[in-house]
């Protein structure tokens, strides 16, 4: 019975190929939009997760400004002068005994533009400590990493990301300018896990943190990165840092975070994006659904005689209704298949030719399928009901 219905449905859709296809366009576009956008969102989520997890389970970060859970991010604190200073880093090194002995790393943002001859690069210049390479999983392409000696002597050196290096046309040993400071390129690197959400890492230039303080004429620190002794003591270490800094500053003008916390925040944002995408696509499915209702009503009218014949040989109202429902659901399912296929194809191209790495997950597929079936049922219901309620004698007389 079901198999027969499926076959009949397919045959009648095929008999009106052009009409079916045009009706489907809306569904195809809607489903394509959902799948493509969700794939990108999931891809970004995965990349970000990889990066955050790449930090390892022991990393703890200290940011300037207090972030209050459940409220919007205190953005101004990220742009205003930092509330954390180099002596805080030293204080933590000295007092926080739950931290790994490898030492405390920190980053100082520098505002200047890099220049070599006529060429300029408005990248992201960061004063960093020796742990930078390990934290960002950077590959040294040529030269070396930041050393303790660089830090001690405030060495006039700079380390360029591949992209910055290309922009400036700088080679190892060349001189580049950061403001009025002339720096020698002592190393170039590449960051494997660069995510598009993390544009900073794509245009990164590193100088010794101590030199950054001198350029900024301030001991402000933008990020402090420490490591707990092991994964189990991360929470305890976090609490210790919080209480130590609170005591020293007299107030919580800073935020201690685990990368996982950041991930939660980030995922919250992408989830909101997901709802938005589904909402917008629903509108397209709604519009295409009306088209489906319309075309199914036409089909029902055209096939009035067939309905009469089927009723005469013993089809119940339910059998007629399910036949037309199956047809409209099958119509939308074909739309879903084409839409998903299209999105999958575009995903492959995006992965190859753009920094995006879209991921088509099962929940996305399930959602697309669910939305398709729902559209088919909801908008097929009225035409199917009309078909089922037809009077057999009148239907048989229909020409």
């Amino acid at each position: 019975m079901l198999l027969d219905s499926l076959r009949f449905a397919l045959r009648s859709l095929w008999a009106n190929k052009m009409r079916s296809f045009l009706t489907l366009l809306g569904v195809i576009i809607g489903i394509y939009a959902v799948v493509a956008l969700l794939s990108i969102a999931r891809g970004v989520q995965r990349q970000t997760t990889d990066i955050v997890e790449g930090f390892g389970p022991t990393v703890i970060m200290v940011l300037p400004g207090e972030q209050i859970e459940g409220q919007q991010i205190n953005m101004a604190s990220q742009f205003a002068p930092s509330t954390i200073f180099v002596d805080d880093v030293e204080y933590l090194d000295e007092k926080a005994d739950l931290l790994d002995s490898s030492g405390t790393n920190y980053a100082v943002f520098v505002g200047g533009v890099l220049r070599k001859g006529e060429k300029k690069s408005a990248g992201f210049t960061v004063g960093a400590t020796t742990g930078f390479k390990e934290l960002f999983k950077a590959d040294i392409v040529s030269g070396r990493n930041v050393t303790q000696e660089d830090l001690d002597t405030k060495a006039r050196v700079i380390f360029l990301d591949k992209k910055v290096k290309e922009t400036l046309g700088a080679e190892l040993g060349d001189k580049v300018f950061l403001g009025q400071y002339e720096l020698e390129v002592a190393g170039t690197f590449e960051i494997k896990n660069a995510s598009i959400m993390d544009q900073g890492t794509n245009n990164l230039a590193i100088i010794p943190a101590t030199l950054a303080s001198e350029i900024n004429q301030s001991k402000q620190v933008n990020r402090v990165i420490v490591k707990a002794k092991d994964a189990d003591s991360v929470e305890a270490a976090k609490d210790q840092i919080t209480s130590l800094l609170k005591e020293k500053h007299g107030a919580a003008d800073f935020t201690v975070m685990l990368p996982a916390d950041m991930l939660d925040m980030f995922n919250e944002i992408t989830n909101i994006m997901t709802y938005l995408i589904v909402g917008i696509a629903s509108i397209s499915l709604l519009v295409s659904g009306i088209g489906i209702s319309n075309i199914m009503l036409v089909t029902v009218t055209e096939r009035t005689k067939e309905i009469g014949i089927r009723k005469a040989v013993g089809a119940t109202e339910w059998a007629i209704m399910s036949q037309f429902l199956i047809e409209s659901v099958m119509l939308t399912m074909i739309g879903v298949a084409i839409g998903v296929g299209l999105a999958a194809l575009v995903n492959v191209f995006l992965a190859k030719f753009s920094p995006l790495q879209p991921v088509l997950t099962w929940d996305t597929l399930g959602l697309a399928l669910g939305m398709g079936v729902l559209t088919g049922i909801v908008f097929g219901l009225f035409p199917a009901w009309r078909a089922a309620r037809k009077n057999p004698v009148e239907a048989l007389r229909f020409e």
Partner: protein, 225 residues
């Protein structure tokens, strides 16, 4: 087996038309009944009411001793499927659908295995002599062949009663004769046949002839077999 008691049916198409005017009729098993009369006399409506395609406005209908005028639409569909086989003047086959698929159609509304359905359909097609046209579409067949397919479809569910509404009306005389001979054969196997016609030649085949006019039965005459 079929009994109508004071069955009435009115239509209003612009004006009110009395299609059946308190008709009472008893049809026994094994009859070969012809209904004749001018067009608009209510003979088609009578056939539709008998075949549960149409509901009477008043009166009682007994089918195998059971009330059949107060059934739910689902029960009517079920009884239609199991008790009746319809043959129409204009064949009423599904277009773009093979002979085999057309004949199998009534069985798809039953819970029978695919194989059994297939077997029964092949047998019915053989009975009407179209075994070599299984895959043909209705538009590839002559009128006589199409009506044979329709008869096979009516027979496939092994109904008790075949109801035929001017089955030869769209056919030439010779083909009409062949179709009527087929009905005769079906009747000889014990199936009750009720058919509507205004062709006098066909009436001679029937065991009983009812003449209708203005929704009433004027004459009810048994033919000598």
């Amino acid at each position: 087996m079929l009994e109508l008691r004071n069955v009435a049916k009115k239509y209003s198409i612009g004006q009110e038309i009395v299609a059946l005017d308190n008709v009472s009729l008893k049809i026994s098993e094994g009859e070969f009944l012809a209904i004749k009369g001018p067009s608009g006399c209510g003979k088609s409506t009578l056939l539709h009411v008998l075949g549960l395609l149409d509901e009477p406005d008043s009166g009682e209908y007994y089918l195998d001793g059971r009330r059949a005028d107060q059934l739910s639409s689902k029960q009517r569909a079920k009884w239609r499927n199991q008790m009746f086989g319809f043959v129409f003047q204009s064949f009423n086959l599904l277009p773009r659908t093979s002979v085999l698929q057309n004949v199998v159609l009534p069985l798809t509304y039953r819970r029978e295995s695919r194989r059994l359905r297939h077997e029964l359909a092949l047998k019915a097609i053989e009975e009407v002599g179209l075994s070599d046209r299984l895959k043909s579409r209705p538009n590839e067949l002559s009128g006589g062949q199409q009506q044979r397919v329709a008869i096979a479809r009516a027979l496939v569910g092994k109904p008790k009663i075949i109801l035929a509404d001017e089955p030869t009306g769209n056919l030439d005389t010779k083909t009409g004769q062949e179709i009527m001979n087929l009905f005769k054969k079906i009747h000889q196997t014990g199936t009750t046949v009720v058919f509507v016609t205004h062709n006098d030649e066909l009436l001679s085949l029937a065991t009983r002839v009812i003449t209708m006019r203005d929704g009433k039965i004027l004459e009810d005459k048994k033919n000598a077999a």
